[in-house]
Structures are given as C-alpha cells and as structure tokens.
Amino acid sequence: MINTQRSTSGSSQSPRSPSSQPYLSVSVTDPVKLGNGVQAFISYRVITKTNLPEYQGPEKIVIRRYSDFVWLRDRLFEKYKGVFIPPIPEKSAVEKFRFSAEFIEMRRQALDVFVNRIASHHELRQSEDLRTFLQADEETMERLRFHETGIFKKKPADLMQIFKDVQSKVSDVVLGKEKPVEESNPEYEKMKHYIFELENHLAEAQKHAYRLVKRHRELGQSLSDFGKAAKLLGDCEGDALGKAFSELGVKSEALSVKLQKEAHQLLMNFEEPLKDYVRAVQSIKATIAERANAFRHQCELAETIKLKEINLDKLMLTRSDKVGEAEIEYKELKAESEEATQKFELIVNLMNEEIVRFQEQKTLDVGLAFHKFAKGQARLANSIADAWRSLLPKLEACSSE
C-alpha cells in the first residue's frame, strides 16, 4: 500500500510551483533476478517522486537490493533512537523458497511499505540516510552497504558496551544487587508488558492466518481432483445422469481455480499485514532495549558523578594540587551526564508520541486488512454459491426425464 504523505511537514515550498504542497512519494517495483548460482539476488527499482528541495529533481530512479534496505534500517535505528523504525521483511531461511514468485512479490510489497512509512514519518523523512538511499548511485550504495554489513557488524563502541554490561551485571550479582537498573515508571512498565504480550498474541493469529491460506489451497486441490473424478464417472454413466456428473465436474474445477486465487489474495492482504504487525512490535522491542540502555548509561554517569563530587570535596579540603585536574574531569563528566540525560529524555518523549501514532496506524492497517479479508471471503462464498446454483436447473431437468 502506497501512502502518500498525509500532513505537510511545513518545509519550504518549491519556488517553481508555489501552490503545490510538498510531497515525497516512493515506490518499489520491478523485481529482477541478477547474478548466478549462490550469489544470485533480486534487485528492485526504487522510484522517487518529490518536489522537496533537498532532492535532486522531480523524479529519480535507482536500483537497490535487499541489503540496501537493511542498511537504511540500521542507520535509522542508530540515529533516531526512540522512534519506532518501520520493520523490514525477514531474510529467507529456506534457499529453495528464495526465488519463488510468491516470495518475491511478498517481499517487494513489504519493502514498498517500509520505504513509504519512512517517507511519511515526520522525523524520519528528513534523514540524510534516506536521501542517500533514494538517490545515491549504485557504486556509492555498494560501498556504504559493504562497509556497514561487513563481518564486524557491531561497532567497537558497541562491543565495549556489551563487555561493560556483562561486567556490571557480574559485579551487581557479586555485590548482592539484585536487578539491573531499570526505570520505575508504572505506565512505562505497563506499556512494556503490553508490547511483549501483544507479540505473543499476534504471532498466534498470524500462524492461523497462514494455515488458513494453506487450507484454501488444499480445498482448491481437492475440488479439482473431485471434479476430474466426477467427469470420469459421468462418462461411464452416460445419458442425462452422465451429463449431470460432467457439469458438476466442470464447476468443481472452476471453483478450484477461484480458491487458489483467493488463497493468494489472503496471503498478500491478510497474512502479510499480520506478519508486518508482528515485525512492528519486534521493532518496538528493539527501541525499548535502546531506551533501557540510555537509562542505564544515564544512571551510571550519575553514580560516577556522585563519586567524583565526593572525591573533589575531599581534594578541596586537603588543598591537594590535583584539585584542578579533578575539577576539569568533573566538569566534563557533568556535561556528559547532561547529554546522556537529554538523550534519554528525548527517547522518552519520542516514544510517547510514537506509541500513540503506532496504535492509530495499526488500527488503520489492521482495519484495512480485515476489510479485504472479509470482502475476499464474501466474494469467494458468493462465487461458490453462484457456481453450484447454476447447476440446479440442469439437475431438475435430469430428474424429470
């Protein structure tokens, strides 16, 4: 589903058409298989239409592959902590499935949704990385992608942080501190609990939705087989009865086709949105983790500052010559602490906004998915009723012979 922006972002209007509203519209299309063997991959055409000044021209077309989208997502996640970054479709686990038409189409659709959500998010759409993604030539993109998705995907700073976390956890346990530092915000707790529970419920619903798709296919197959058998039986019986069987067989086979079609629709318009919902929730969990990190960082700095203060007072009392040094250190730490606090509070504020947005967006997404689902089911059932109903006059005619 392509979402054009709904609200203006208030950015400057193009001088060329003063009356037009600023817009940024993206579509992901035309999947094409490139390369050979193990290294084969799918490339997509990404078409950007915009009148925003930051962009080069009204229309730009670039070629991107899945890992480019991953790059974009990772960059946004790094830079916009607190924002719920739109999720991207998973890598395919099964090799065989990777190039099936259905999988490719599902992925294309999901990537299209991904980019459009970014383009319509008032914070994210201003991202430089987004601009790079939408406009950079393929070589630049490749360089960036390679750099990011190299073997050491985690930056050194992250690795240090992980070690620190482990360290502090161990020392906490040793010192008898029970829990890692966490916010004591009951509302936030509730929200976290909600998110975690929600994921479970959604995953189950999605599982059944997927099974339902399968059932449609199976029913279609059995109708096809049954139809063939009926036709053969009709040939054997002959006369009016034979014709009746043949007609039944024909209708049965026709319905089989309808069922396969509906299965596909169900997959794209119902099961996929549910899966998308699950991914979105998982993305929120990642943001929750980021917030926890920020909070912990802030707390640690606060602790460290307290210690430094005490130390500084001591030094001042003893009129040590280390006072100057200590003061400078203290000031630096204070600044760091301020920064950490600001970052954390930004995350908190963003999240508060985001959760409201998320709930509203999801209601719309899910509502649409439900609508399509119900429409599809109604349409299918009506086709079935029509097909069988058309047989009845013929059957009546047979029995009156």
């Binding site: 059944h208 339902l212 059932r215 029913l219 049954f226 409201v356 209601t363 899910v366 439900f370 069988w388």
Partner: protein, 562 residues
Amino acid sequence: MMGSDNQGFQEAHVYASREEMENLVLDDDDTSSKSYSAYRSATSLSPSILVTPADSDPLLAPSPYRDLRSPNAPDNNNNHSSYIEPPSYADVIFSPFDETNTGNEINGVESSNQFIDSPHSSASSSGSEYIKITVSNPQKVQETSNSLVPGGNSYVTYLITTRTTIPEFNGSEFSVRRRFRDVVTLSDRLAESYRGFFIPPRPDKNVVESQVMQKQEFVEQRRVSLERYLRRLAAHPVIRKSDEFKLFLQVQGKLPLPTSTDVASRMLDGAVKLPKQLFGESTAVVAPHEVVQPAKGGRDLLRLFKELKQSVANDWGGSKPPVVEEDKEFLENKERMNDLEQQLSNASQQAEALVKAQQDMGETMGELGLAFIKLTKFENEEALYNSQRARAADMKNVATAAVKASRFYRELNAQTVKHLDVLHEYLGLMLAVRSAFSDRSSALLTVQTLLSELSSLQTRAEKLEAASSKIFGGDKSRIRKIEELKETIRVTEDAKSVAINEYERIKENNRTELERLDCERRADFLNMLKGFVVNQVGYAEKIANVWAKVAEETSGYANESS
C-alpha cells in the same frame, strides 16, 4: 442470527481452549460432532445420524435399494425428494445453530429428516410395505462350554428389533438376539440360495476378534455396520422376503440355519471321499441337487478337479467349449460394470479428500477466530487509547464471523458426508455385482463340464457297443459295463438339465438385477447430486452473508487508504 452477537462472543470469550471451543460451537455433544478426522469414521458414524430415535423410515433415506413397488415408477419424486426444495436454499434445509436443539444430532440432519417424514408417510408408493430394523444393546456373553482358552470365550450379542407391515412376516414387531457369527451364517446361506442376485455384502469379520472386542469403539462400529447391512437386505425386494432373512429376524434362541462349516473341514471331507470316487465305490457323478451349487467350496473334490480341467480346456484348448457366454448385452454390461466400479472407487476417494479439506478449513477458521477473540480481550483489558478500543471492536466482529463461518463449515461437511456416502454405498455394491456375475460363470462352467463329460461318456458307450457287437452272442462283461455306463449317462443327463436350468435362472436373475441396479442407482445418484449441490449453495450463502456484514462494517478503512 446467533442469539445475539454479544452473547455468542461472550460465550466464546470465556473458553480459551480449543476443546471448549468445540463444545461451544456445537449445541450437541455427539459422537458425530467429535471428529471428522477420517471420512471412515464419519461415514461409519453417519448412519447413526439416520438412526435417530425419531423413527424415520429407512426406505425413504437414500439407501441403495429402493423399493420400487410400481414397476413403472418413472418419476419417483416422492421417494427421492429428500433434499430438493424450493427457491431459497439457504433457508430450507438447514436450521441454523441458533435453534436450541439440544440432545439431538446436528440440526441440519434433524430437519432434513423432517422433510423426509412429511411428504412420505402419505404418498409413498411403497406405503403398504414397511420394514425397519434396529440393532442395539450390545451385551457380552461368556461362553461356558469347553474351550482351549482359559477364562472361556466371550462374544457379543446384539438386540435386533424389527418393525414391519410386510405380510410375509408373522407379526408386526419382534426382537431377537444374535451374534456376529449368525450374521455370517445368514450371509452365506443367502449367497447359496440367491445366486445371481446382487446381495449386499456383509460387514467384515475381524481376525483378532476376541481381543478387539474389548474396545467399546469396535463394538459400536460393528453395531452400526450390522444395522446398515440388515437394512440393506431389507431394502432388497426379493431378499427381504426370503426364508433365511425371516428366520434370522424372527426365530428366538439359536439361529435355525445350517452353519457354514470350515473350508478346512470341507476339504477334509472331500479328501476322504476322493479315493472312493476314483475307485468307483462312491458315485463319481455329480448328483443333481449338488449341481445347483458351485463346485468350489463344496465337498466334492472330484467335481472340483473336473471343472478345473474344463476351465483350463476352455482357455487353452483348441476347440470351443460346448456352450459359451454369447449374450452380447451381458458382456457389454459386464464391461460397463467394471468401468463403473473403477470410476466409483476413484470418485469415492476424491470425495473423502474433499470432505477432509472442508473439515480442515472449518477447523482452521475456528482457530483463527479464537485467536482473535483472545487478542480482542487482551486489547480491551490493556487499552490506553481509543484507537485500541476501535481495533478491538473490529477484531471482535471478525472473530465472531470467523467462528460462525467455522460452524457453518462443520455443518456443511456433516451434510456433505451424508450425500457423498452414496458413492461409497454403491462402490460396496459392486462387490455384490461381481459376485453375482461369478455365480453365472461358475454355473456355466458346471454346464460345460457336464456336457463334456456326457460327450466323453457317450463316446465310451459307443466304443463298447461297437466292440461288443463284434463278438457273437455278446460279451457278458462288456454288456454289463454298457448297462452301467448307460445308467451313468442317464444320471449325468439329469444333472445336465438341472445345471442348465440353474444357469438360465441365474442369467435371468442377473438381468433383472442389472435393470434394477441401473434404475435405482441413477435415481440415487441424481438425488445425491442435488442434495450435494443444494447443500453447498445453502451454506455458501450463509457464509457469504456473515462476511459481507463484516466487510460492510469495515468499509470505512477502504476509503481511507488510497
């Protein structure tokens, strides 16, 4: 529709697990509702649906042999109108699950029975002849007589109750207790007396009977299959009036029919007789009364050998046998029956698969509904924003619709099973057809064998006479031999006549039965098709309505997105 939507939702709301869902979904807690996991179990259960305590005339249910009293019953709409009805199919047959119809079978069946009852009780062309058989009340009996197995043998008896207006039965209602062995006896005796007829096949024996007997399920399955079998016999216009059948249904105590002795003991008897036959002590000729039975399975091994020799000569010998199957029409029909059997088998298999697919669809739809109900509950409990509440409301609608649709699928399937079961019934009947055709060919073989024998006897006699006439005054021993031969020839001639009569009789039986089978099968199949189609239409309409409503309720979302 469903009481009130809230009602249904709240009910479902409370039950978390799937089993509870099942109990919720169906008003009745019936065996027939428990599992449709296998078509087999469904089919074995479905007759129990027909066997409602409310007496529905089995004649009027789609049984394989319809009693067509009037030979020119062209348009037995009355007999076959079980499932056909006026315009709006959705309303007709199915009473939706909102009817508080507890303790009975699935609603659809219930009302379709009602349909059967009303038009039929008055207008049935077979109104004067009614028979209904019920098998019930299985009881375990200890066999106290000497047995090798310590603890004694035990077996199960069933109560067989008959209600009938057929005059040939003395009485209108009676019950007996019979065991499965008695049924086997009945079946074997009928096979002997009614060669050439399409006799419904009896239920299978079970090899490890006594062990399997412990299980409730097995006994119930057997009860059902016995009932089916007896009802099919009762539906056959000729067999229902047979002595064997009457004795079986009426005579109290021990079944007064000769039991089928083991093949082994027969073979032993035959082996004992054989040397005598070969040395001329016992009669080497088939007695006329034995001729009416096939050689196979009898005690006369010599006859068996002779006929075997004849059949080999038929197949491999240079000359044509004295009499052959020349009836072109019969040969065509035989071909046709073979073809039909094949196609029926295929169709029956595919019908099974279709039923399973429908059932799975219903199940998964129900599970999806349940999952959404849980989600709805969750969102409502934890809602902080109106958007959540709105979503929860949408979800509730979808969930309720899914649950309803799931119930419809189950009901649809229960009906589908009943209809498509007709295929299965007729497939079973093809066995009977084959058996009747083989009666014919074995009778023919007997005739051919006797004719060959006659011809060789006569040749011997001629030779002896020629030799004897050359001796002046006659050859005493030869003359005696000629006399004996002439006697043998006479007996054989008699046997031949009987055999030919028997063969002709069987041929005639084949013919009339084929006619009847074709006629009834056509009617039943047409009925089946109509029923199947009407059923599909009705439920599809209902399911469509359910979803259309939800589509309507959520149409706002479609307008919002581009």
